[in-house]
Symmetry: C2
């Protein structure tokens, strides 16, 4: 596919100088309009060595306003990045809505380099590209405009450019640059496969002939201008991929999964205390072992209002050294969070190797409260199942232990607890009008929970349904499960 | 001072059980009120090994709502932290207003350990404590409540506790714990000095006898409850240290420093182009050398509206590899930023070793626009000079090159540029009503700039006054200065 880019396109200096002011003004104008738009723009700058990617990035910075424009480079991985799933560093670099993020290097770099240098198998390469595709779908569905630029040079042109660049800057051609040049053919082959497999209608590749710098620059500016202008004209509401039908959800006429939970299970005080002590002691030691072995845990706590999530989390954290865990309570998003994909606020708290993050409510809010209350559009919460599965898959692939608990109680028990909260002084703050409103929609939530279970209880990250009518039983059950799963992960 | 804590205070189980519910309810209530308050609470948990600091932290988590409560531990430094000034990791962990942050380990740990283990001299220890004191002043002045808890055990009690803990948890006493116990006396001596030197009225130490766990826990809860309640009663406005008089600013009756800038300096097109090319080439190479040598740069660009800051920054960044720098344009703070000390939003972008951050406007906004427009109270902007000097000192101590440019133009030149902006299509967005309003307050700003220069142009981080009437001259001047300072730092 690259040969079609080698057309020897050129632009004279005169022509460039004539056309530049208009392009410059156009980019500034569209960037200004973008500020109020409900989407972000991601520009991927990639291509062969020597094609002048750095110059292109500089030029984009020259043409546009630095406010609302950032460049992220992914060459220099820190340990905070290495100790988390691969895509954490990309999520971390995502521009907020209304802004442009230039990705100098991107999620394409490592798959291409690994496969080209034969550090990865073809199947692994294809799998990595599948992940890329899914990641981009996720962004595009959220409204993000992805502009993918590939700067191409023929082998001959590349050699010429690298030599010229070295001379101009009065430096030796850097060693890795030389290595890349030597393996030009291999890289071309691999890159072509990468581009072909990820060249989709909603996130197409633009291959730009980089042999003439002025042509390359003008073309880049024009593509960015055109794509942003076009996306802007599609309006704020029409976000996401076109023609993507929402997953058709069949009515849950099978018995709801929640009705299978044996809510009559109980522990008396003595049994509870003995077991709690036993499991907390075990957990304490396992958590230290996990720390030494660099295993991290992400635990999700969901359940009905007043199901006792907080009490359970506290029994778990009591057993742990405070240095090893963090509890993230999900409340209203901050404005920095609102300006991002809904998964961003969860990605940002993913623990490093050896640590634990407990989410008191989680990304499942998307398919629970946001679905039931209509905060998310049907297509948004329907595609969320896949997005969530992919997210958790990435955690597990990285070596993270993913635990998901649904704490179940029945409506009677909830009512009893609501009433108790209203009467006990220091529990009063726990009960709000919202709780009563949610309670009225029990059936809707039950359907949402059923759908969630059947779609996101995966082999690698299964849901644990915890009978919660007896608080003691629930606490023991969760902490026991935690101990068992950690033991398993450590063996 | 510690011996006075060894009073053998005890609380019986019965008494504890009787008093706990009230304390629990009180903490929850005050935490709820805190949510709407305009300050944050920092609880420092420190003390001797074996005193049960971890249990105390767990208990605070048990007593309080996890929403609005986080614990930060500082034992495990990442490279992203190591590659920045020491306090970056503390700034990063600061709780937002309305929340409580427990510091398990803190800015005290390293100074104490370093000096106790004789890795640091006494003068270095005292200097580190001076930094601690200034840091805490900075937080308190911003309204933050700092509760400093020191858990004390006698040598005998410590040995008993460590042995008991090891037995209970069925683990060997960890090697570093043993080492600490061996050097009990030395640590006691050093800690005492640390506490004495930082025990100030607005951030006093609470020494808690930890030999009886119930006493320790009850006392901790009571202190936290009492201090937060008391701080709350002081109201939202009365922030900061009491009795701290604002630095008295004498009228700038000496000739304004800005009048000394030779604004008639000019470069013609040819001279400009030749020099620009020369310095950009030099800068490119120096930046790579700096990267290899792990030297980072923080450059601040301030100046009148339309002084040409953006154009200058672009000429500098053009010369750099896009992977090595970031431009931070200071606009309105996000709500996460608003909930923190004003320096927090600048700390968060401090580069790692080997990288450059350019601030297009900066922390100097505090003593410029915030002063002139009245967004900051007089005591706020007056104490900012010291806060800023300390901030920059920390950067320089870490090895960061700090460059500060004031781009100066005169009122006539500004008027000319404003008019040009109004007429040239792609420059029109650059001029707003606010610019015209600011212009009317030229004299106020001039006074603020004068004060800023005289108070923050330090030996380690001097201001460079750049004549800006001729854009070409200004650009060359800045890039040349950058080259010279980098060369100097590299030699």
């Amino acid at each position: 596919m690259f040969e079609f880019a080698e057309l020897g396109n050129k632009i004279s200096r005169q022509e460039f100088d004539e056309r530049e002011p208009e392009l410059h003004a156009g980019l500034l104008a569209v960037q200004r309009k973008l500020r109020d738009a409900n989407f972000s723009v991601v520009v991927i700058v990639s291509g062969v060595e020597g094609a002048g990617k750095g110059s292109v990035v500089s030029l984009l910075h020259k043409w546009m306003d630095p406010r609302g424009l950032t460049t992220a480079a992914f060459w220099d991985e820190t340990d905070e990045e290495r100790q988390r799933p691969r895509y954490w560093r990309f999520w971390r670099a995502m521009p907020p809505k209304g802004e442009i993020g230039i990705m100098f290097g991107s999620w394409y770099t490592q798959p291409i380099v690994d496969y080209a240098l034969k550090h990865a198998k073809r199947s692994e390469f294809d799998q990595a590209l599948e992940r890329v595709r899914h990641f981009e779908d996720t962004l595009v569905d959220d409204g993000t405009l992805i502009i993918k630029l590939w700067f191409h040079l023929s082998k001959k042109a590349q050699q010429k450019h690298l030599a010229k660049e070295a001379k101009e800057k009065n430096i030796a051609v850097s060693p890795f640059t030389k290595a890349y040049a030597r393996s030009y053919d291999r890289f071309a082959l691999v890159s072509e496969r990468a581009l072909r497999k990820t060249d989709v209608r909603h996130a197409p590749w633009h291959i730009i002939d980089a042999s003439n710098a002025r042509y390359r620059d003008m073309k880049t500016g024009e593509i960015v201008l055109e794509r942003v202008t076009q996306r802007m004209s599609e309006g704020v509401i029409a976000s996401g991929r076109k023609g993507v039908s929402a997953a058709s959800l069949h009515k849950a006429d099978e018995p709801a999964v929640l009705s299978t939970v044996p809510l009559d299970l109980k522990f008396d005080e003595i049994r509870y205390k003995t077991r709690l002590k036993k499991y907390q002691r075990e957990l304490y030691q396992l958590a230290w072992k996990a720390h030494q072995r660099h295993i991290d845990t992400v635990a999700v706590f969901e359940g009905w209002d007043a199901a006792g999530k907080g009490g359970i989390i506290r029994r778990v954290t009591q057993a742990l050294d405070a240095r090893l865990y963090r509890v993230i309570s999900i409340a209203a998003p901050t404005d920095e969070e609102k300006a991002q994909h809904y998964l961003w606020r969860f990605w940002r708290h993913i623990p490093r190797d050896g640590y634990h993050t407990f989410y008191d409510r989680s990304w499942y809010g998307r398919v629970l409260v946001e679905r039931v209350e209509g905060f998310a559009q049907p297509q948004e919460w329907q595609r969320a199942y896949q997005e969530i599965n992919s997210f958790e898959e990435q955690l597990v692939e990285h070596g993270t232990l993913v635990l998901k608990f649904w704490i179940h109680i029945d409506p009677d028990e909830q009512l009893r607890r609501f009433r108790e909260r209203e009467t006990v002084e220091w529990k009063r703050h726990k009960i709000t009008d919202e709780d009563w409103r949610n309670r009225e929609r029990w059936a809707d939530y039950e359907l949402a929970v059923s759908d969630m279970m059947s779609r996101t209880s995966t082999e690698i990250a299964p849901w644990s349904l915890i009978p919660g009518n007896d608080k003691r039983y629930a606490r023991i059950e969760v902490i026991k499960m935690f101990v068992e799963r950690l033991e398993q992960a450590l063996s």
